[in-house]
């Protein structure tokens, strides 16, 4: 059912730890699950030319991004024997130390959950049209590029 009704991936602002706890708790009734793999992206206070990143302001081509997320889900469910998968990515300003990406995969067996989680992370980085403006302490900025 997870597979058929994907929720929106893009959410406003940082992803709170309580949301992650709630997602985990929601899976305790699914007793065919033996392993969960979770990836969290957190905003780093990178130094660039003696200035320090304070936040990243995320924007996205939202309709296309949701379409891409849906395609990644479909591909993941056909590649991996996972029970469920959830992904959330922030839009708007996320401060250093806060969570901007939450990927959560579950399976009967650990290796499948872990591989699927990695697949999601790499695919999202490579294919989702999301853009990040790194904001420095003095409110100047530079545009982030995934390496």
């Amino acid at each position: 059912m997870d597979k058929k009704k994907p929720k929106k991936v893009l959410v406003q602002g940082a992803i709170p730890p309580e949301k992650i706890a709630q997602s985990i708790a929601n899976h305790q009734s699914k007793t065919n699950i033996g392993a969960h793999s979770i990836f969290l992206g957190q905003i780093r206070a990178d130094q660039v030319d003696s200035k320090t990143v304070r936040a990243i302001d995320y924007s996205a081509y939202e309709e296309m991004a949701e379409k891409v997320f849906h395609e990644i889900r479909e591909a993941a469910f056909s590649k991996f024997d996972i029970t469920c998968a959830h992904i959330y990515h922030s839009l708007g300003r996320v401060k250093t130390g806060e969570i901007c990406l939450f990927v959560f995969t579950s399976s009967a067996h650990r290796k499948i959950a872990i591989e699927a989680c990695n697949y999601f992370v790499e695919e999202i980085k490579a294919k989702a049209p999301i853009f990040g403006k790194e904001i420095f302490e003095d409110e100047t900025h530079q545009w982030k590029v995934n390496k």
Binding site: Y61, L101, I124, K125, A128, F131, G132, V145
Partner: protein, 78 residues
């Protein structure tokens, strides 16, 4: 014909706008449209810019009246 154009990230910053409707020549290619706008707005790092037509990155497509063309800078999700 008219196409609807969207700009994102550093490209929107360079263009000074998020979207606009452009009157373009029939049979203009995606690459020609890209070149035209890169020149017009002095879009930086043009090699890294990708265009999506109706949310697809496939560059081989021909533009049609009413298409949505998005100018995408490098992705930074995750």
């Amino acid at each position: 014909m008219k196409v609807s154009v969207k700009y994102f990230g550093i490209i929107a910053e360079a263009a000074g706008r998020d979207e606009e409707v452009l009157e373009v020549a029939w049979e203009i290619s995606v690459n020609e449209l890209k070149e035209q706008q890169v020149q017009k707005y002095k879009i930086p790092d043009a090699e890294a810019v990708q265009l999506a037509v109706n949310q697809n990155l496939n560059k081989e497509v021909e533009l049609k009246e009413g298409d949505e063309v998005a100018f995408l800078p490098p992705f930074a999700g995750g």
